[in-house]
Subunit: 405 residues, 2 copies
């Protein structure tokens, strides 16, 4: 069985109990029995490949395949999932790393650096309302266990103790910078770009800078039958104009802007909406480009609202800086991709990943794998075995290129 | 006290118990104790003015002031209200009719036609989910009592019996056509046009033809971060474009088009909306103009959706024909308005009124009275006494013009 076929088969098997806490539909949340089952099976595979295995204080499973040098290449992603999840988000990256090490071990090949496969236990934040706990602990940016609770009221510290982890030991999960060469995260794209480009894999340039806004528009509610168009202060019409302006700004700047949520008040068919609130999600490869888009949107919004007699209030809900993938690693990945007969293609990631957190520790690189229609966080998530095998071959080629430096 | 001041004072007094069923805020629903209290007081006023008073089988209070001829001029509106209502919607028209008859009676003036003041008990439909029960019974278009229930599960027939009405007698509420000259309904505008025109009263040309649509747009839900703008099928962006198109169509045609309700699914900030549904309310002076607007909207919607990869489904929820006010009566009202020193101004009604139902029986006319900012169905509903007095003088002048014919 090829590395790709093996990785896909393992992800598929993990869709069901005991690797899922739900009888139907995959749900593998942090520090649950399904998480434990996954750790146990993964430990067996790692040990069979001659790796030294340990669980760090944050519940990240780490398998180490020794090299001839002192530095370490970290490879990994997360094995937790959202509710009713797909099989590949996160997990596939871990399986690919494991498969590559198994291939090296089978040939007795040792590289001038060690490889560690990391299986983070929490990236999604689907159990506690905080995400990337594993990768943040690794990077040393999570100094202590936050006081957060799951839906059943269990605290994170309590859940850790129940899992055999000592919350007071969390700082020990932080890695020493000097030991680490690079963090490589293989991951499904969760978007439609590679499919549209007809490419199996792509090289990630960075993870987008993101801003989330909440926009409130106050106009005047009126009778839909008795208020002439020119005497209206229709908050929803103003919102419509603002949404199209956002779309145009994003298209022109080559970034993404989304209105995902909207509410109109009073929200009945025969009343002109007096108040509307809607969300804005703006992402760009750099903070500067994102901020320019945001400023442009703010200006256009004020112009629209001034003209329509609407009062606009814009609130910044969240603002995340961009994370840049290591330039040298991108170049090396491109060489490796070309070696496998695929045209090197660079793309930014609009979604957040563990690599964002690990970037606080060391240079990071990401390899995206094409997925069907970009569907993710959904049981319909799908990858082609051939694409996964291409990713595995790219990774092996990348190891050799890195070894040659 | 002037007729106008008296009418306003009576409306104000009826804002409170026993004329309201709510201790705070006006609520006078069909066949309730508040309705009974209003009927009792109104009966006293009518009898004091020398009118013969009866309650018809639908609970409409009718006071008859005899004339010298055999025909009857009907004047009236409704005395029921929505919840937390204003004082004037409906009720003011009845008080104005009553006040005019009181003025005639005080002078011993008999006209060549009788005048009947009608106080309909249900126009709003705020107790049962069917409206204009009183005026429909009068027009003979409500043959039997519909099987409908209020929020407490009381049937309409049961409520009628509890009020001393016999549901089986409902057909007897229908008026003979030959007896009736015209129905005149004085009513607050419930819109901002007369205020914008700086006019106390206006002559209604008709009640708008109305269409209510429900539009469903099906696109594709996608990750807001990973889906480039050009690969999206954003149902909300399509809806935004459709809303602006509707606004433009209405502005150009001089009609009104409103999107009052909208829902986006899944409705979260980081997902491109895959599905949207919204309401469309379209009103125009004639069915032809309304239908032309509707067809134009449908075409533009298809164009927008075709271009954006969206499937649109349009459902007609309701379609009401226009009601035209009698041309001769409009002319006579205009003369009467001019007599009172006001420039005759014609305007359509975007809202429905009892006159719509009575139009099945006889010619109808409506006189609109300016109200503050067009606010209605709201405790802030307000009219100026001077405007109401102008309306009273217009009505008295109208009687004399009608008498002279």
């Amino acid at each position: 069985m090829s590395i790709g076929a093996q990785a896909v088969a393992r992800c598929q098997a993990w869709r069901h109990p005991p690797f899922s806490d739900a009888p139907d539909g995959l749900s593998r949340r942090y520090l649950t029995p399904a998480h434990r089952a996954a750790i146990t099976e993964m430990t067996g595979w790692m040990e069979a490949a001659g790796m030294a295995v340990r669980l760090d204080a944050a519940g990240t499973l780490i398998g180490r395949y020794e090299g001839t040098g002192s530095k370490t290449l970290l490879i990994g992603s997360h094995i937790d999932t959202v509710g009713d999840a797909g099989a590949y988000d996160g997990t596939l990256g871990v399986m690919l790393g494991l498969g590559c090490v198994e291939a090296l071990a089978a040939k007795g090949r040792r590289l001038p650096f060690a490889i560690e496969i990391l299986a983070f236990g929490d990236e999604e934040g689907s159990r506690f309302h905080s995400s990337m706990l594993g990768s943040r602990a690794l990077a040393g940016t999570l100094a202590s266990v936050p006081e957060i609770f799951d839906a059943a009221g269990v605290s994170l510290a309590e859940a850790m103790r129940g899992f055999g982890l000592d919350p007071t030991q969390l700082p020990l999960a932080a890695r020493a910078r000097d030991d680490v060469l690079l963090f490589l995260e293989p991951h499904i794209e969760q978007g439609p770009v590679l499919e549209a480009e007809n490419l199996a894999v792509g090289i990630v340039t960075g993870i987008a800078a993101q801003t989330r806004l909440k926009v409130g528009l106050q106009g005047m509610a009126n009778h839909a039958g008795t208020t002439p168009m020119h005497l209206r202060r229709d908050a929803l019409a103003a919102a419509a104009e603002a949404m199209l302006a956002l779309e145009e700004i994003a298209l022109e700047a080559g970034i993404v802007g989304t209105v995902g949520a909207i509410e109109a008040f009073p929200g009945v068919s025969n009343v002109v909406p007096g108040r509307v609130s809607f969300s804005v999600d703006l992402r760009a490869p750099t903070e500067a480009v994102r901020d320019a888009g945001g400023e442009q949107f703010g200006k256009v919004l004020q112009e629209i609202c001034g003209r329509r007699g609407i009062v606009a209030e814009v609130q910044t809900v969240q603002s995340l800086d961009a994370c840049y993938c290591d330039a040298a690693a991108q170049k090396l990945l491109a060489q490796a991709v070309a070696t496998c007969g695929v045209a090197p293609f660079y793309l930014p990631s609009g979604a957040g990943h563990d690599a964002m957190s690990v970037a606080a520790l060391c240079p990071v690189a990401m390899l995206f794998i094409r997925c069907l229609k970009g569907i993710s966080h959904n049981p319909a998530e799908h990858v082609e075995v051939q694409d996964v095998e291409t990713a595995a071959q790219v990774m092996l080629a990348f190891f050799e290129l890195l070894a040659g430096q």
